[in-house]
Symmetry: D2
Subunit: 341 residues, 4 copies
Amino acid sequence: MIEVGIVGGSGYGAVELIRLLQHHPEVTIKYIFSHSKANEPLSHTFPHLNHLTYQFVSIEETTVDCDVVFFATPSNVSKHLAPRFLEQGIKVIDLSGDFRLKNRDLYQQFYGEEAAPQALLDEAHYSIAEWSSIKEANLIANPGCFPTATLLGLHPLVEEQLIDLKSIIVDAKTGVSGAGRSLAQHVHYAEMNENLSAYAIGKHKHKPEIEQYLSGIAGQHVGVTFTPHLIPMTRGILATIYVNLNKKMTVEALYNLYRDKYSNDNFVRIRDIGEFPKTKEVYGSNYCDIGVYVDESNNQAIIVSVIDNLVKGASGQAIQNLNKVFNLEQMTGLNQLPVYP
Amino acid sequence: MIEVGIVGGSGYGAVELIRLLQHHPEVTIKYIFSHSKANEPLSHTFPHLNHLTYQFVSIEETTVDCDVVFFATPSNVSKHLAPRFLEQGIKVIDLSGDFRLKNRDLYQQFYGEEAAPQALLDEAHYSIAEWSSIKEANLIANPGCFPTATLLGLHPLVEEQLIDLKSIIVDAKTGVSGAGRSLAQHVHYAEMNENLSAYAIGKHKHKPEIEQYLSGIAGQHVGVTFTPHLIPMTRGILATIYVNLNKKMTVEALYNLYRDKYSNDNFVRIRDIGEFPKTKEVYGSNYCDIGVYVDESNNQAIIVSVIDNLVKGASGQAIQNLNKVFNLEQMTGLNQLPVYP
Amino acid sequence: MIEVGIVGGSGYGAVELIRLLQHHPEVTIKYIFSHSKANEPLSHTFPHLNHLTYQFVSIEETTVDCDVVFFATPSNVSKHLAPRFLEQGIKVIDLSGDFRLKNRDLYQQFYGEEAAPQALLDEAHYSIAEWSSIKEANLIANPGCFPTATLLGLHPLVEEQLIDLKSIIVDAKTGVSGAGRSLAQHVHYAEMNENLSAYAIGKHKHKPEIEQYLSGIAGQHVGVTFTPHLIPMTRGILATIYVNLNKKMTVEALYNLYRDKYSNDNFVRIRDIGEFPKTKEVYGSNYCDIGVYVDESNNQAIIVSVIDNLVKGASGQAIQNLNKVFNLEQMTGLNQLPVYP
Amino acid sequence: MIEVGIVGGSGYGAVELIRLLQHHPEVTIKYIFSHSKANEPLSHTFPHLNHLTYQFVSIEETTVDCDVVFFATPSNVSKHLAPRFLEQGIKVIDLSGDFRLKNRDLYQQFYGEEAAPQALLDEAHYSIAEWSSIKEANLIANPGCFPTATLLGLHPLVEEQLIDLKSIIVDAKTGVSGAGRSLAQHVHYAEMNENLSAYAIGKHKHKPEIEQYLSGIAGQHVGVTFTPHLIPMTRGILATIYVNLNKKMTVEALYNLYRDKYSNDNFVRIRDIGEFPKTKEVYGSNYCDIGVYVDESNNQAIIVSVIDNLVKGASGQAIQNLNKVFNLEQMTGLNQLPVYP
C-alpha cells in the first residue's frame, strides 16, 4: 500500500482527497495534518465523516514516515514545508499555487508573496495529467482548477498551431467551493445566492499559469484574456474559450482532432457535434467534458470545457498524478460516476 | 414628513427599511447610523444603492433631531442607546430582542446578557401590529421573525380557547437571511447550499417570546415546543403549527374563524380550504399568508403560516407599527406586491 | 457475478442504481429497461454517462435472463410486471409503492388505483434493511424515502414501548428530487427556487406506510401525523419527529438506547448528545444520521433523522437489501463517503 | 389615468408588469388577457396575488377599450393580434420578438416562423429606452433581455467608433426565468440546480437583434459572437463584452465616456473604476449597472453589464417606454430599489 499524508486537512481539497481515496485500492491515508486543529478528531471539523476515527496531527510534532504528501493548503505554505519531505525521499503533490509558476517575478506579482527558491521551482513538474510525463517526478505542481479546464480545452489547438495566438479569450465560470472554506462577505449564503459576478478581471493568479503552459507548447509567448465569474452553485467550472482559427476548418475536422488527441484518455470525453457539456454532468467525478463549435463565417472556434473544480480541478487530478508517478492505471480509485441529479 | 433615523445601518434590517421606506409618502430617512462604518458612504457597504448619497454617521458624534429611531441592531445594543432618544421625545422602534421579554431572568437565560432595566421593559409595547394598540407608545418592541409567523397563526385559537394549551408544537423553517449578515461557517455558501438542518432545539430566543405572548392571551402560562430549521434560501419563514383542539371542529369552522378574525387586516391573507401558502408567495412583501387544516379523526389542527422574515418579520412590520403610532393607514408605504418568481 | 436488470431506466432511481452499482464488486448490470426510450442509447437521456455504452431495452421484446430485477418505476407498474420475473425465479426488488401496503383498501385510497393481488402483497417483504430478515425473500418492497428516515428514527422508541403512541408527529422535509424527473409547474426551477411549502397534508402515500410498520412493532394500531415539506434543494430528507415519552427519561438514556440498538449497523450513525445532523452530511451516501433530544420538563422527545432520499431512501437501501438477500456484507458496494461540500 | 391591457397574462412578463404597475400613479390595469385561463381568477394561477380580484379575460370575447396593450407573450402571437388594437388607435408595446427584426428573412431563420408583414415591421419602433425617440410611436418593439444588457454596454463604444467592429464577443449569462414559465426538462429544478451550461451557440434569436441595432449605429453591418449561458438562479443577466479598441485608451477615458453618455439616464449606473456590478445589485429593479475595464497592453476593453431580466430586460423597460410615449418622467412607477439580499 502507498501511504499518504494530507496537509491542510481542514479544507475542501483535503476532504475531497479523503472521499476519493476511500475507493483507491492501493492507497492508505496515514496522516491528516492540520496546524490549527491538531489533536482534534477529524469529525469535529467534518461531521459527515463522524464514523472515521482520524485525528488531526501537527506536522511539527510528528515524525512523518510515508510515501507521498499532498498539500491541500492555501498558497504560501508548501514552499516552506515541502523541502523537508523531499529531503526524506517523500514525494510531494502540491495542490496549491506555490510551485506552478517557473518565473519568480510573476509569482511575486500575482500572489503578492516571495516565490519558492528557483531550484525547487525548476524541480517541480507541472502536470496536466493527460499531457505530462512524470514517472520520475518527486515534486508535482498540481494545476489550478481554471487552468485544468482551460488547458485541456486549448492544448490540441495550440499544439497543432491552428489558431491566432493573440486571439485567446477565456470566459470562465466557477462554483463557490473554488473560493475555499474561509469566510468572506461575498460568499455568505445570503449575499451569494441568486447572485452572479465577474471578479479579479486581469488579475487572477490563474492567468499567468495558463499563459506559461500555452507558451511552453507554442514555443513563444502566449497571452490570454481571462475573466473568471462566480456562480451561485457549490461545484463546477465551465470555461467558454474563444479563438480565431488560422485557416478555414469545419466543425467536423475540429471534433475529429479532439477525439483523436484524447482517444487514450478516459477522463476526457469529447461530446458529439452540436452538444455542449453541463457542469452537473461531471459533478463529483474526475471527468472533463468538452464540446466544440466552429463559426465558419469568420473562422472562429468556441470550446466549452467543464470539470468539477474539486475533483479534476484539484483532488481528483492529484490522485491521477499519484497514479502516474506510481505507475498505476490512471483510473485507479477514480472511477466514480457523476452524481446526478 | 416624519423624519427617521436607522441604527445598525450595515445590516439586513436597515437595508430593508431603506428599500421599503422608498415608497412611504410620509417618511423621510434623515440618518443612517453605523458605528463601524461612520463617515463612509452607504454605497461602499451596499453597492446596490450606489445612486444614493447617504453617508453613515456615528451616533456618538451627532446631535440627533428626528421623530423616530429604528434599531436594526443585534441584541444588547438598543437597551443601552434607546434611553437617550426617549428622553429627547424621540420614539424608538426596536427590531432587536432587547425589549421583547418582560422577565429579566428569561432574557438573561436566553440572551446570555443582562436585561434592560425593568422600568424600560415595562414601558415597551410588544406589537404584533394586527393585534396591538400602540397609539400612545414611545417605545415599540418589534416582534421577532419566528414569533410573528407563529403568533399570527396561533392568536385566534388561543384567544377563543379552542386548544389544549399543552399541545402546541411549532416546527419553524427559515431562510438564511434571518441569521443576519455576520460571517459564520454554517452560513458560508458552500456549506449552506443543498443543506438543511434543525438548530437551537429547546434553546432559541424566540421560544420565551412566543410563550410570553400566548400566556398573555390565555391568562395562564403557556409553554410551546419550538424547533427552528435553516433552509437553503435567502428569505422566507414557514411555521407549521400543530395543536390539539379542545373539541370537535370542522375545517370550515376553523377557516371561518380565521377569516373573521383577520377580516380587517389587509396583510393577513387566509388561504382557501385545502390550499397552503408557500414562502415565495409573500417574498419581498408585508403579507402573512395562512392555511388551516383539521384532522377530524383526532381533533388535531395544523396551521401553516408564511412571511418574508425581513419584511413582515422585521422591517415591514416595524413600518406598520410606525404607521399605527402616527395614526396613518396601516398599508402606507407597504403596498409592495410579492416579487414573483 | 449477480446479474441485474433495472426497470424504469430513465428516472432518478435507475440512474442512482447505476452510479452506486459501479462500485459493487459482485453485481453487474445486464439490462436497463425503458419502454419509452427502447433502443436509444442511455447517454441520450443521461449525457453524464456518455462514456457508457448501455442501450435501453424494452421488457416486452427481451427474454430476460438475470438474477434480480429492480423496479425504479412510478407506482402502478411493478404490480403488473413483477409476476413474470418471479415466475422465472428472478428476484424482484421494488422501489415503488406497489408492494408496501398489505391492506388493499389503503392502497386504493392513497394511490388511487387498484392494489396488487393479495397473494403477492402477502409474499412481499417490506424491508427497512437494518430491521428486516429477508434471506429467503423473492419479492422485496423497498421502503419509501420518508418512511426510511422516519422509521429508523422511531423504531427503537416504539419497540421499547417508551412513548405515547397517539402522540407521534412527523414534520418531514425533502429535496426536490423526491418528486422524480417528471415535469410539473411547482418543480420548475423559477417556481421552486427560493421557495418552501408544505404539501399533501394528511394525504401523503407515506403516511399509511409509516403507520403499518409502527403498528407491526407495537402490536396495535398506531396513527401518525405526517406533514411533508418541499425544500429548495435537490437531495436530502430531514424528519423532525415529536413524541411524548411514557415516563421520565434523560437524554443520556435515550442516546444510549439508540447507540445500543444500532451498534451493529454501519449505516446508522447516532450523533453525540447536543449535535443534530444536517442533510449534507449524508449527501450521496447510504448513511442515516440521527440526533436525539429530550425536554425533561414535559417528557417530550425530539428525534432528528436525515438521509439522502435517492440513496438510503431509495437505490442505496435497495442495494443493501440485495446484499442481505444474497448473503453479502451489507456495506458491499455502498461504502461511498458523503460528497462534501 | 392611462388604461392598459396585458396579453399573455399567465406568464412571467405579465406578472412582473402587474407588480411594477402597482406603484405607477398614472396607470391602471383594465384587462389581463389569457386565452387558456379565460374566466378564471388571476389568483388561481398566481396565488401570491390572492388578494387581487382580477379575472383573466379572453381577447376574442371582449370589446377592448383602453389606451395601451402590452404583449407579454411568446413569439408568434403579437404579429397576429397587434393590428386589431392599432386599428382602434390603441398603442401596442410588444415584449415578444415579433416586431424586433426589420428583416423578414432573419426572423424566419431565427424564429422558425413567418415574420409579420413588412409594413408593420416598418412601423414598429425598437426602443432601448435610453437611446430611442418614440414620442409619436404607436407600436413599440420592446428589446430582448440579452440585447438590453448588451446594447446599453456597447452603444457608447460603437457610436464613438472606438472599436474594431469585427472583434465583438458577448459572453452572456442569464437566470432561469428568462426561459419563461413553460415546462421543460432542462429547467426542472433537480436538473437545473447546481448546474451551468452554454446553449444555442451561434443560433440564439438575440444575436441578429443585437447585430441589427449595432449596424444601425455604425452605418455598416456589424456581426457579433454571442454565447448565452444558463445560470442556476431565478433572475438576472450579466453580459461580459470583449472588444478590441481602435487605439490606445485608458480606463479613465473609457469610464468618463460612459459617465458622460449616461449622465441623464437615471437607470444606468456606471460603477467606479475597478468595481464590477453583480446581478443581485439590480434584483427586482429597473437599473442597468455597468463596469468598464481596459487592458492597455493589448488595447482590449471589457464591459460588464447587469440587469434584472424581468425588469429592465422586459416589463420594467416596457413601462419606461410607456412613460416615454406618454411624456411622463421616465422613472414614474419604476423607482423600486433592488431587493437585497
